[in-house]
């Protein structure tokens, strides 16, 4: 009804990886309930690779679909690879988002970064500001 692709509607009506991970290795939470979006992603990391990811989202259809898609895209990736899952990649995987909804996929990217940095700092590593440095 709002010009969402079938892919967005599919991820909205049948979200993948919805939920939380008890004692996750990394948890990212971004957004602000007052502006109507809040997204939380939990990751399980084994041997430097994300083996499981779960999300919870308070927000519009695009925000829910973006978080569902984002969790699908990062599972199986190293932290470094997962960091590179951009908002554009999430939006593309969803067959596009309406222009005023692109910020919802930005939220997904920020949330992945927050979860990765949470995992890094928990393990005594410095948080990435801009992403992995060369050689990391």
């Amino acid at each position: 009804m709002t010009g969402y692709s079938d892919r967005v509607m599919d991820h909205f009506m049948n979200p993948r990886n919805m939920g939380e991970i008890a004692d996750a290795d990394g948890v990212g939470e971004v957004g602000n309930p007052a502006c109507g979006d809040i997204m939380k992603i939990c990751i399980r990391v084994e041997g430097g690779r994300i083996t499981d990811a779960k999300f919870k989202t308070f927000g519009c259809g695009a925000a829910i679909a973006s978080s569902s898609m984002a969790t699908e895209m990062i599972v199986g990736k190293t932290l470094k690879e997962a960091w590179g899952v951009t908002n554009r990649a999430v939006a593309e995987a969803l067959e596009g988002l309406p222009p005023q909804k692109l910020h919802c996929s930005v939220l997904a990217e920020e949330c992945i970064h927050a979860a990765i940095n949470d995992c890094r700092t928990k393990n005594g590593l410095p948080a990435w500001a801009e992403g992995p440095e060369a050689g990391e």
Partner: protein, 391 residues
């Protein structure tokens, strides 16, 4: 997949009544004449326009020469506010309105502020009511216009228009009301309400889109916005939208016939819907006034969920509704009406508006009550804000 279709967004627009369409049709084809022309085909059109004007006037307790046809509610609101402001600027530059007006009133007021007018946006109580005493207190020697809507489009709260009109009259200040949501919902009489200008729009009461009217009390000077011809007694130029005007006349006649019987039936469905939702869905609360509300309006805030996602799921189940959240627009601000009622932004985002109409049935209500609790529960299970005990 469910195939039931339930339309619950009558405050947004209504279907054009088949009898209204029938009345309009001849004016597209055999009676297509321009009312300003002199031959007989044109006289037919002129006569139809004047008959419609009488119907609108009758519905409002006004005289036909006080009714001016416009393109709809937005034009009527703009004309009333900018027209009074421009014509009476010498007398004063202050306007009083409320903080819950439609944007067709708020935006012209903001525009006038840029032209040097000062505007008071009165607060409302938690139910969305303007306090007449606050109107009186806001009046200054500079005040030339008071504009308060008859009933709010989002939360359905009915305003104390007669009291406000009386105050305006006592102070010799023009009083405009946006009655776009009120026609066909509550009885309107411009004299009883002491209204000087009143806006209405046909598509809100089973008439066509693109046609409305502004009532301007006899003797009220309001500057013309549309220049270019002698139509509407030289006050609103442009060839008349004859089919639309005929449709408006037909629709308003229908809207005020058996008003009480129709609204009683709709209000009963509304009350069952409200009670059913509040009973079955925890952490839900009614927005707007419990009794001073339009017969067709239900507006509920659900904690922990966001409005657009509720709409999307309802749409999946064939239910058309609307929300107080502005997530679908370019800004992310929640509804200014709900915020003015003191609702925290976070709750305002999770508000759902269901507005009933004549074609809704008890089965429609049953269906919504069957589907909605599951939708809210499902969205809450996805929300990081939901505390564990309400799951």
């Amino acid at each position: 997949m469910v195939t039931r279709q339930v339309y619950l967004d009558h405050a947004a627009t209504t279907p054009t009544h088949p009898e209204v369409v029938d009345a309009m049709l001849p004016f597209f084809s055999e009676k297509f004449g321009n009312p300003s022309s002199l031959y007989s085909r044109a006289r037919e059109a002129r006569k139809a326009v004047e008959e419609a004007r009488i119907k609108v006037a009758t519905a409002l307790g006004a005289s036909p020469e006080e009714i001016y046809f416009t393109s709809g509610g937005t034009e009527s609101d703009n004309w009333a506010i900018k027209g009074i402001a421009a014509a009476h600027r010498k007398k004063g530059n202050h306007i009083i309105t409320s903080s819950i007006e439609h944007h067709a009133v708020i935006d012209p007021c903001r525009h006038l502020e840029k032209q040097g007018f000062s505007v008071t946006y009165l607060p409302v109580d938690e139910y969305g009511r303007v306090d007449p005493a606050a109107v009186a207190a806001a009046i200054t020697p500079e005040t030339i216009l008071i504009s308060v809507m008859t009933a709010n489009n989002e939360i359905g709260t009915i305003q104390p228009i007669a009291e406000i009109g009386k105050i305006a009259r006592e102070h010799d200040i023009f009083f405009h009301t946006d009655a776009v949501q009120a026609i066909g919902a509550i009885p309107i009489d411009v004299d009883a309400l002491s209204v000087d200008l009143l806006s209405l729009s046909a598509h809100k009461f089973y008439g066509p889109k693109g046609i409305g009217a502004l009532y301007i009390r006899k003797g009220t000077r309001a500057e013309t916005l549309m220049h270019g011809g002698g139509q509407e007694r030289r006050r609103r130029a442009g060839t008349e939208n004859v089919p639309g005007i005929v449709g408006l006349g037909e629709a308003i006649e229908h809207a005020v016939t058996d008003l009480e019987g129709r609204t009683r039936r709709i209000a009963a469905m509304r009350d069952r819907l409200i009670a059913g939702i509040l009973d079955t869905i925890p952490k839900s609360r009614l927005n707007g006034h419990p009794t001073q509300r339009l017969a067709n309006n239900v507006n509920i805030a659900f904690r922990y969920v966001e409005g657009e996602s509720i709409l999307l799921m309802l749409d999946y189940f064939g239910i058309a509704a609307s929300t107080g959240s502005a997530c679908t627009s370019a800004t992310l601000d929640p509804s200014h009406v709900l915020l003015a009622c003191g609702l925290p932004a976070e709750h305002a985002h999770g508000s759902l508006r269901l507005t009933l109409g004549e074609e809704n049935t008890e089965e429609d209500i049953d269906y919504v009550l069957e589907v909605l609790p599951g939708i809210i529960e499902r969205l809450r299970s996805m929300s990081p804000l939901t505390p564990t005990d309400t799951r």
